[in-house]
């Protein structure tokens, strides 16, 4: 893997316009950043503190008042691109899933890239409630960028999305298959070496992560996910990542902790020597 990054830029993207069932993802980035400061940092799955030897910068390129998705994409994309150009690894924190578009576009502008999506929903609609930039359309817009994709943990899609998956051959791993075996890992073979990883927190089973906008029963568990991420980072060059759609809720600290742990895992796996 050429050009391994040497530092990490954590980018807070508190953007929320198009969420539908429940709202609150705009508070996700701050909650994760606070939890990263609060929790014991040692990561038992990796045997180290992922942040102890890595230079990290926290960037807040816009506030929660931003409501224009195109401006948000431009801002988030510019920041992610600058981090990559500086030899860094951008880890973006949403916000609704739309915030992935800017960083993915930045990664795509720097070479062929595949996108691995951990999510409960396919997010392949061409338009949702008249909005092509809805959080429910984000993977369709990414495919529009000529990126190959693999959706993992999917358990909700419309008939139109199912047709699109069949016609376009978009990679899908249904949620129920995630923990049954590791045979589906071979689907990564069809993706480019450079990978953008996007994790919608509603990918996880609501028992583990209830604080999301649209929880779907039957999601994968934590350890099956850790195993997959270990494999992903071992076989691919993950150039950027994001964690989106956390909706902090009073009385639920577990989902915020899960999201922060996930951030630590991603960083630790991306910088295995540090």
């Amino acid at each position: 893997m050429a050009g391994a990054p040497t530092n990490i830029g954590i980018v807070a993207l508190p953007f929320e316009v198009s969420t539908s069932f429940r709202k609150g993802t705009v508070h996700g980035p701050e909650a994760i950043l606070n939890e990263l400061d609060r929790m014991d940092p040692f990561e038992f799955n990796l045997g180290k503190d992922p942040f102890s030897k890595i230079s990290r910068t926290i960037i807040k390129p816009h506030g929660s008042e931003l409501v224009d998705a195109r401006i948000q994409q431009a801002v988030a994309g510019r920041v992610a691109g600058e981090i990559m150009d500086g030899g860094g690894f951008p880890l973006s924190l949403g916000g609704e899933h739309t915030v992935s578009l800017g960083p993915v576009r930045a990664a795509r502008a720097r070479g062929e890239v595949g996108v691995v999506q951990l999510d409960a929903h396919a997010d392949l609609r061409d338009s949702y409630e008249g909005n092509p930039l809805s959080h429910a359309c984000v993977m369709r817009r990414i495919i529009d960028m000529d990126c190959a994709t693999l959706g993992v943990g999917i358990r909700s899609m419309s008939a139109d999305e199912a047709t699109f998956v069949e016609e376009r051959g978009a990679g899908i791993v249904p949620a129920r298959d995630v923990g049954r075996s590791t045979g589906w890992y071979s689907k990564l073979d069809s993706l480019p070496d450079r990978i953008y990883l996007t994790v919608d927190i509603d990918y996880f089973d609501p028992a583990d992560a209830p604080a999301v906008g649209t929880p779907e029963p039957g999601g994968p568990g934590w350890y099956d996910t850790v195993a997959f991420l270990n494999h992903l980072f071992a076989v691919k060059d993950v150039v950027a990542a994001d964690i989106v759609e956390l909706m902090p809720t009073d009385g639920d600290d577990a989902t915020v902790r899960l999201a922060a742990r996930l951030a630590g895992l991603i960083v630790g796996m991306r910088f295995p020597e540090m």
Binding site: F21, S156, A162, P174, P206, P210, E216, P217, G218
Partner: protein, 262 residues
């Protein structure tokens, strides 16, 4: 008092005269309150955010013709049961979504397969209900002593522990039932980690895919003539449990669609 309501994201509901599946939400709710009301109406509201393609069966199940209505009035349970009878007489498949098991007591006319997490200290005389028809009580993990002792010997009791060890025991219990059954699903049959309602506090319980497998087993075994989804009283609007309830209904519709296809 009844009034049609939207069900599902794309709101492609059929009319009462054209539908095959009748979803009857027994609630004192007002259509203007959808999105704010708890209980059955919270599930109706949540359905509008649920995708309508059932990945597990590969179908858009509501395309079989689905009609949804809120059934209100002074006694919505009785009203819904009468509406369900009317639906059956028209060859439709009725599902009542009720706050509690009074719905099952009034609605059940067939051999009963009850996926319930507990018996006793509930809203109705469950032991009489169980005794009334050949019954299988599956997924139970809590009961009052009196209620448990009063369950007639003719009822097959499959505890949650036994089912989690070997789900096929349900199919074995169903083998002696030759007629299509009444399927009653109480949300309390699910683990509290899955159902997340104030009523679902007992540890243990079924996982999501366990419940899906059992429902499929019942549809593919004796078949199902009618159904209810109960224990929805504590379901809050815009909550995970509301979405979960709508997903259970989608699954039932999916299996109906699959059966029609076959």
């Amino acid at each position: 008092m009844t009034f049609p309501i939207d069900f599902g994201y794309s709101n492609t509901s059929a009319s009462w005269t054209d539908a095959y599946l009748a979803l009857l939400f027994a609630s004192k709710g007002d259509p203007a309150e959808i999105g704010r009301a708890a209980g059955p109406m919270a599930i109706a509201d949540a359905s509008r955010f649920v995708e309508l393609f059932e990945m597990q069966v590969g179908l858009s199940p509501l395309d079989i013709g689905t009609y949804a209505e809120a059934v209100g009035g002074d006694d919505p349970v009785d009203q819904a049961a009468r509406r369900a009878e009317e639906a059956r007489s028209r060859g439709m498949f009725p599902v009542i979504i009720g706050e509690d098991r009074r719905v099952t007591e009034r609605h059940c006319k067939d051999p009963l397969v009850a996926l319930w997490g507990k018996v006793g200290r509930i809203e109705t005389d469950e032991t009489s209900l169980l005794a009334r028809n050949p019954s299988v009580l599956a997924g139970v993990r809590a009961a009052t002593a009196n209620a448990f002792q009063a369950i007639p010997g003719s009822v097959s009791i499959l505890t949650a522990t036994a089912l989690m060890s070997r789900k096929e025991i349900l199919a074995e219990s169903l083998a002696s039932i030759t007629d299509p059954v009444h399927l009653s699903i109480d949300l309390d049959v699910l683990s509290p980690a899955v159902a997340q309602t104030p009523r679902s506090l007992e540890p243990g319980g079924l996982g999501w895919y366990d419940l899906m497998d059992l429902i499929e087993m019942i549809f593919k075994g004796p078949g199902v003539a009618a159904a209810d989804l109960v224990g929805t009283g504590p379901v809050s609007p815009r909550s995970p449990a509301a979405l979960l309830g709508s997903q259970v209904l989608l699954r039932v519709a999916g299996l109906l669609a699959l059966g029609l296809g076959e």
